[in-house]
């Protein structure tokens, strides 16, 4: 179909759907004033049974921990796919001598950016570790902490240029982080099965309420998620940045 006909078909379909959307919006349960049985059941049970105060982490790592297992391997699957799609042309080996692409002018970097990046990068990584550790008590968790750590370590690229970034992100270590973190989460599940309990049961001592190290097995799973997410996002950044470092048609001889 030509772009114009396609737009007409789309708009006709939208016009046809609009009355149903209108009726739906009016008959939806009242915004903010309808019962939330599942959430209230978890709010009532989790602080008492697991001595954790962050309900979202309780759901993510214990009550619906099996969802997070799928989520972890979804991340692993996408990163493996991206590595396969991007590395296919470049072949297996990453650039041996990172940073210098023959025939391409070295872009000048402003000292202010380098200074600020060098100052803030460790602070951000530290903040990421803090967020990842305090999964059970305050907002945040393995996933949010892992992404903050990965973004913080990327500042090394702005701070020390490409060689600095490549020192930070070693592909073998990141592969081990990512595969190991996801496998750690799965092995947590099998560990509880070895003890005869259902998959992913929390069999470790659950500590005291409001304590950072409360929640038993949830801490190990949280660590697994943190490792896997940090490894995944750093691998993504590494693969995409590596794309800019291959020989380009505009480079000189």
């Amino acid at each position: 179909m030509s772009p114009k006909i396609r737009l007409l078909v789309f708009l006709a379909a939208v016009v046809c759907i609009l009355p149903a959307v209108g009726r739906l919006a009016l008959q939806m349960p009242a915004f903010g004033a309808h019962p939330l049985p599942y959430g209230d059941a978890i709010d009532a049970a989790a602080p008492g049974e697991r001595h954790v105060t962050n309900m979202v982490s309780a759901i993510n790592f214990d009550y619906r921990g099996f969802d997070t297992l799928g989520e972890e391997f979804m991340l692993l699957c996408a990163v493996t796919g991206t590595v396969v799609l991007l590395r296919g042309h470049r072949g297996e080996a990453l650039e041996a001598r990172p940073g210098i692409v023959r025939g391409r002018a070295i872009a000048p970097r402003s000292e202010a950016v380098a200074l600020i990046s060098r100052l803030t990068a460790p602070v951000i990584v530290l903040f990421g570790v803090y967020v990842a550790l305090h999964a059970m008590t305050t907002p945040g968790g393995g996933f949010q902490g892992g992404v903050i750590i990965a973004t913080g370590m990327l500042l090394a690229f702005f701070g020390d240029g490409y060689p600095g970034w490549r020192r930070v992100s070693n592909s073998k270590v990141l592969d081990a982080f990512e595969g190991g973190g996801a496998a750690l989460y799965a092995l947590c599940g099998f560990a509880s099965m070895l003890l005869g309990l259902p998959f992913l049961t929390n069999f470790l001592p659950i500590g005291t309420l409001k304590d950072v190290f409360s929640g038993g097995l949830m801490l190990v799973e949280n660590a697994g998620v943190g490792l896997a997410v940090t490894g995944s996002f750093l691998l993504l950044f590494l693969e995409f940045l590596e794309e800019t470092r291959t020989k380009k048609p505009k480079d000189g001889p």
Partner: protein, 594 residues
């Protein structure tokens, strides 16, 4: 309390994680062996669970969170016989594919096998789960594995096909998520039994109707039914042939299995939804069967031909589901298994042609099939099975579908089955005749179809590739009798979910009779085989026919083919406009039946 349910899902996941972490350190062939063992182990566990679940389904609550006073708090697996049997079928297909692809992908260490294991784990989890959001998570795991595997060969057409596949299915996934949000708003839980109780409490409810429309749109996009079927041919034709075996054999059929499970486990109490399934889904299934058959005939690229044939046969599954009867459901199970095995074998034959003869273009390969004649025999047998020969699983499935159609008063449905079988079987038989017997020098409608010169690695011996083909076809033929009996027994608990056992809730409707089904073989089966042979014969002997005849027939069929082919434009914008049209069709169906 059985320990088996999490193993076929978490096992392959853990193996995939370890394979990735240690991938570069393993010797050459270890990933192949490890992946094969994982697939066989998962299949074995599923078979054991299928036998255990004969009396009543296995209920397994993760994390030990059993329901409290009938309120589900954790995620549960309720492994019924049908779910376990379908998971075992998936694991079997994966094992055959890994044998077929032995040494095919050894240049990128273990990445292919990691993706295949994740693909399998996602599909098995999708079949066994009893939680709506968990079903979406496994749906997404298998989709992402499929996206990555489609673009694997990095040819530009592979990337375009992968992009169309990814964008269309991701929009489907977001529609599913919106549907989950809507039914969670109304009922407040995510477990199937509790959801069904909620639907039974408020059967005439716009929110629940729209949530069913969104959820089934997402699943029907994955099942590639009209008007969502455009992405399938682009993705199948360009994916590596072992991946296409899984796509056509199991992934597309999983969309139909998802919709069927959703309807019987959650949405059955709502009368409007029953009416819409009875009318709209029946229409979509018929349209897919017809469009798929027509497009299959007018192809020369073998994998595109098989992809359109898949759309056609999955349309028959949707018809089986839309009849909402026990015979229809039993026919759906048997036909799904039979078609999966035969179509998987056909894509493996295409893989053999690609590996040995370095081409997939039917006209280009005319008469060159001599050196791989066993593949030709398999292709001919497959073509006859697709054409509706009353033999094995597909024959039994066709009989059950015809019986269900008669019982439901839709006398015309058997003729749609005949049309689909004749077109797809005829196309495959024509390709067999042209490639392996060197017939048909004058090409008909298919000469204008798109094609591409692609080639796959050929370093694995022919017998390694032929072994799984023979195995799959043998199972498809031998399994006929017992398969039909098993399916009719499995259909009863599938239609009547054991809410009592899971949450102690009363079942919403009377259980269907579990008397053994009697499906007489109809003479229509031989009619479709005759028609298929006629189509193949006509196309292969154009030069012998009296001079005027081929041109007259072509002129008659030309407008039909032209319209259908112009719609399959390969533009992502068109595909999403058709998704919007699909949503509008749902709105009209609900308004009309409301």
């Amino acid at each position: 309390m059985s320990l088996l349910p999490p193993l076929p899902v978490a096992g392959p996941l853990a193996v995939a994680g370890l394979l990735l972490a240690l991938g570069h350190a393993l010797p050459r062939r270890t990933p192949d062996v490890v992946a094969l063992l994982a697939a066989l182990a998962a299949g074995g566990v599923c078979v054991v669970m299928a036998t255990q679940a004969a009396a009543h389904p296995i209920v397994y609550w993760f994390g030990g969170w059993a329901p409290r006073q009938g309120f589900p708090i954790g995620i549960g697996f309720v492994v019924g016989q049908a779910g376990a049997a379908f998971a075992a079928f998936i694991a079997l297909l994966f094992a055959a594919t890994i044998v077929f692809a032995w040494g095919y992908f050894d240049e990128v260490h273990a990445h292919f096998h990691v993706l295949m294991l994740l693909f399998m784990a996602g599909m098995i989890g999708f079949c066994l789960t009893h939680d709506l959001f968990n079903m979406f998570v496994w749906f997404e795991v298998q989709s992402i594995a499929g996206f990555a595997l489609t673009g694997y060969q990095l040819r530009s057409s592979a990337l375009e096909g992968a992009l169309n596949f990814t964008v269309t299915n991701t929009i489907g996934a977001y529609l599913i998520l919106a549907g989950i949000g809507l039914i969670y708003a109304r009922v407040g839980v995510l477990d199937f039994s509790a959801l069904q109780a909620g639907v039974a409490r408020s059967p005439h409810d716009v929110v629940i109707d729209v949530s069913f429309a969104l959820l089934s749109t997402g699943f029907l996009i994955k099942a590639a039914q009209v008007p969502f079927q455009f992405w399938l041919a682009d993705a199948h034709a360009v994916a590596p042939s072992p991946v296409s075996v899984i796509f056509s054999g199991a992934m597309v059929a999983l969309g139909i299995f998802g919709v069927t499970r959703l309807f019987w486990a959650v949405y059955a109490p709502a009368p409007e939804i029953q009416a819409v399934v009875r009318t709209l889904f029946l229409g979509m299934g018929t349209a897919s069967a017809v469009v798929g058959g027509l497009m299959a005939i007018s192809q020369r690229h073998l994998k595109r031909l098989l992809a359109f044939s898949t759309i056609s046969h999955i349309g028959l599954l949707l018809i089986g589901f839309s009849l909402e009867s026990r015979e229809g459901l039993a026919g759906l199970f048997v036909y799904l298994a039979g078609h999966g095995l035969v179509k998987g074998a056909m894509f493996m034959v295409a893989g053999v042609l690609l590996a040995e003869l370095a081409s997939i273009d039917e006209i280009g390969l005319r008469g060159l099939g001599g050196q791989v004649w066993p593949a030709g025999v398999a292709m001919g047998l497959g073509g006859l099975l697709l054409a509706g020969m009353p033999l094995g699983l597909m024959g039994a499935g066709t009989d059950l579908l015809d019986a269900a159609a008669k019982a439901a008063g839709e006398e015309w449905v058997p003729f749609v089955v005949v049309f689909a079988a004749a077109c797809t079987g005829g196309a495959v038989l024509r390709a067999t005749g042209r490639i392996f017997l060197g017939l048909g020098p004058v090409a008909g409608e298919e000469k204008r179809a798109p094609t591409e010169d692609e080639q796959e690695k050929a370093d694995r011996p022919l017998w390694v590739m032929l072994l799984p083909i023979v195995a799959l076809l043998a199972i498809a033929i031998i399994g006929g009798g017992s398969g039909a009996a098993w399916a009719s027994r499995m259909a009863v608990p599938f239609m009547q979910p054991d809410n009592q056992g899971v949450l102690g809730l009363a079942p919403f409707a009377a259980a269907p009779s579990s008397a053994p089904l009697h499906a007489p073989g109809t003479r229509l089966a031989w009619l479709s085989v005759a028609l298929a042979l006629g189509i193949a014969g006509f196309n292969l002997s154009r030069q012998l026919l009296p001079v005027g005849l081929p041109e007259i027939v072509d002129a008659m069929l030309k407008p039909v083919f032209a319209v259908v082919q112009k719609l399959h434009s390969g533009l992502i914008g068109d595909y999403i406009a058709w998704v919007a049209v699909g949503l509008a069709m749902f709105t009209i169906a609900f308004a009309w039946s409301g």
